[in-house]
Each structure stands twice: as C-alpha cells, then as structure tokens.
Amino acid sequence: MQQVLSLLSDYLGVLFLILCLGLILFYIFSGRITEKISMRSIQAFKHFRREVDLAVEAGKRLHISLGRGSINELQGGSAFIGLTILDRCARAASNSDRPPVTTSGDGIIMILSQDSLQNTYHSLATEDRYDPTSARLTGLTPLAYAAGAMPPIHDDYVSANILAGHFGSEVALLTEAGERNRSLTVGGSDSISAQAVLYATSDEPLLGEELYAAGAYLGEGTAHTASLQMQDIVRWILVVSIVLGAILKLLGILS
C-alpha cells in the first residue's frame, strides 16, 4: 500500500495533467458541451461587452493593460488570458475612431501584444490602420510600469480600462487614473493581493479564477468553454479529495 502511494505521489502530477488534458479534449471533440449546462452570469463581462460597443460609438479608446508578469514564470498564465482578451477587444474596436492601446511591463508580453494587434488588423484587412506604438512597454519595474501606464489613461480619451494580467498593489495607480478620468475599469489578476485592491478600487472586479473564464464568456471558441467545464469537474474532484482526506487524517487512517 505504502509503495503504491509513494509511486502514486511521484506520478500524481502527470496523472493530474493527463486528467485535465483528457477532459478538455473530450469536451472539444465530442461536442458534448451539453445544452443543459449554461454559465452563471458574471457582471463584469456584461459591462465589458457593453463598454466595448460604447467606446466604438463614442469615438473613444479602449486601454488594455496586460500587467508585468513574464511568460517564463508562474505569472505568465494571466498574461496569456490577457492576450486573449486583447484579441477580442481589438477585433471589436478596430474600426473605432481611436483604436485600442495596450500597455505591459514585460518585453515578451509587449511583443506578443503587438503580434496580436497586427494579426487582428490583418484578418480584418485593415492592416494599414495598425500602429506598432499602440502596443507599449511602459516600464521595466512594477511601479515604473504602473506610472508609465497612467498618462495614456489620462491623455488618450480612454473610455474603458481592462486590466488583465499579473499585478501587485501598484494596480491601484491604474484604477485611480481611471477613476479621475471617469472611465470604467474592469480588472482581474492572478495575484490575490491585487484582487483585494481591485475589489475596492475598480468598477467591475474579477475575483479568483473569473479572469481565466474571459475566453469562454467573450465567445473565443469551444476550447475555452471546454476548459471551463474541465475546471468545474476537477474542482469537484479536489473538493471531494480535500474532504475525504481531512476525514481520513482526522481519524488517523491516513498518516
């Protein structure tokens, strides 16, 4: 029993990974995203969609900030989801008078955001409107990045700020600039300290893992909806494991 458990614990990571991957592929290819399942409403994404349309109509600009996480680190996950949101925003607002501008605090993320913008304009056959300086690196340290992202919020007629990526407490500088500029701020992060600050200072905070559901709520494709269903199933597996494990530990069965 002990050897099985120790073997299991060595390869637990692989098993967990295979479980997650299998569930995603199952939902993608079987198309079994059952109609019976729908997603709970998240206020922030409703506001987000309406704000994108208002920005285009009012001739204002969208500001998408991707944080300062590097993709070589654990914080890169939130940067990837920020790029997904950027792609959706750029697609919706590219024909606005003032196309969207994106800021970030990491070199690789800045290049990926330039790529994302350029491909969006290319796919809409409006590549001549693409301006490489609309994707900006504003600073290389956390507070330099936040301070550098404030002027675009104040100057560029921004109507909505979407903060999606890895932040620290410096995210309050961005929400403050948005507040003073009277523009809507929708914010989410993988750092829970930043989530606490966003909860108090932004108009529409994204709590916990709601940021990672952006792809599914903004209609980025079946892969996003499938991975959301994977998260729900794995969540219940973890809940059951925690409760069972705690009971067994309490009873002393498990050492």
Partner: protein, 240 residues
C-alpha cells in the same frame, strides 16, 4: 532610514530626492505637470537600470564572458555545453529582432511560439506542483490528528479552526463553479438551493480574505507615506 544615511554622504541626492517626493505627492491634488515630469524621469532611470542589469547578468556573463575566455585561451570547462545551451539561444534572440518592425514581424513568430510553449509548460507544471498540490495538501492536513495540540482546551479550538478553514476552502472553490444546470426552458438560469447556500458561504470567506489583504496593502502604503513625511522633515531640518 536609508535616506538619513544618504544625506550624510550626499546632500545633492537628498535635495533631488526631496523635490521628486514633493512632485510625486502633488498627484494627491490632481494630475499635473510636476507629477508627470517626476514620473517620466523615474521611468527612464528605472528602465535604464533594469535593462543594464539584466543584460549584464544574462548577455554579458552567460553569453559573452565564455567567448572572451575561449579567445584569451583561458581553460574553459565545457565548450560543448556552451554551444548547446547558449549559441542556439543567441541565434533565436537575433531572429526575434525581426519583431522590431511590422513588416518583418511575421518572420519572428516561430521564436515566440517556442517561448509561449516553454512558458505554458512552466505555468502548467508550476501551478500543479507549486500551488494545487501544496494547498490541497495543507487543507487535507488541517485536521491531521497527529499535529493536534495535546491540551484539551486547545484541542477544541484547533478542531473548530480547522473545520472552519476546511469549510472555507471548500465553499470558496464551490463559489467559483461556472456551470449551472438549466432546469427547463424559459426558467431563468439559477443555482440549485443547496449550491446557492454553499456559494454564499464561500463568497463570505472570499470577501473576508480580500478585506484582510486589502488592509495589509493599505498598512504598507500608509507606512510608506509616514516614511516620506519623515524624510521630508529630516531634509528640511538638515538645511534649516
């Protein structure tokens, strides 16, 4: 504290620090010319220093110094590992420079695909081994009988606290459940009653956590504000 030491050594630095502090604190009144000037100076200095340091540590020491050692005939331990682990990276690095211009940007995409692949793998494994397993393990061990305090009164407190942490962790996870079973057509989508209660409890725990973290951040910023007031006063005292 650090500034007191700086003042002893460098009055000019202290005066510049004083001016920059006042210019930045003026943002409390509103966005103004002084604040922007100070912020742009700071961004230039901070980004410049970070660029020099990272290039120094990575490009200078890991890429160029071994080459200089080879050229100067110095015994260099492992040429093969250098060729394997550094030369391809430098080639990929210069290839990535095609991203500098929109026209050639398309050619640099393979390098970014590689970086995204490696980054995604790190992120996935880091999340599994660095967060999920440790946090689940800690939650499971919260009521581990072997780590229970021997005294009876402490035991009760330990058990109640453990139970609350267990319930809090589980209900917080349940609150974020995205999928909702649709009863029938036309009925607005809602959670089941039992799930509703669990989610509400979870939401309570989440809000308490965010409250505690918000307070921590606020205390840190308040301390910084006190430090700035003391620094300004120390510089004033020094020059009066």
């Amino acid at each position: 504290m650090l500034e007191q030491l700086a003042q002893l050594a460098d009055p000019i630095g202290a005066v510049i620090g004083f001016l920059l502090t006042v210019m930045v604190l003026s943002y409390i009144i509103g966005d103004n010319f002084l604040f922007r000037l100070a912020v742009h100076i700071f961004i230039g200095v901070a980004s410049g220093y970070a660029a020099v340091l990272i290039l120094y540590n990575v490009l200078w020491y890991q890429v160029l110094v071994p080459v200089l050692q080879i050229l100067s005939g110095d015994k260099f331990t492992d040429l093969t590992s250098y060729v394997i682990s550094v030369v391809p990276a430098v080639i990929l690095g210069f290839w990535m420079f095609t991203k500098a211009s929109p026209r050639t940007a398309r050619w640099g995409t393979p390098v970014l695909a590689f970086l995204a692949g490696v980054g995604a793998a790190t992120v996935v494994v880091g999340a599994i081994r660095g967060t999920i397993f440790p946090q689940v393990g800690a939650s499971v061990n919260i009521l581990n009988i072997q780590s229970s305090p021997p005294e009876l009164n402490k035991l009760v407190g330990w058990f109640i606290n453990g139970l609350i942490i267990l319930v809090g962790t589980v209900t917080t996870l349940i609150y974020f459940n995205f999928g909702i079973k649709r009863q029938e057509e036309g009925v607005p989508v809602q959670r089941s009653v039992f799930m509703g209660y669990l989610s509400t409890v979870g939401q309570g725990f989440i809000v308490i956590t965010l409250g505690v973290l918000f307070t921590g951040v606020y205390i840190a910023t308040l301390t910084s504000l006190i430090d700035r007031i003391r620094f300004l006063w120390d510089v004033i005292l020094r020059f009066i």
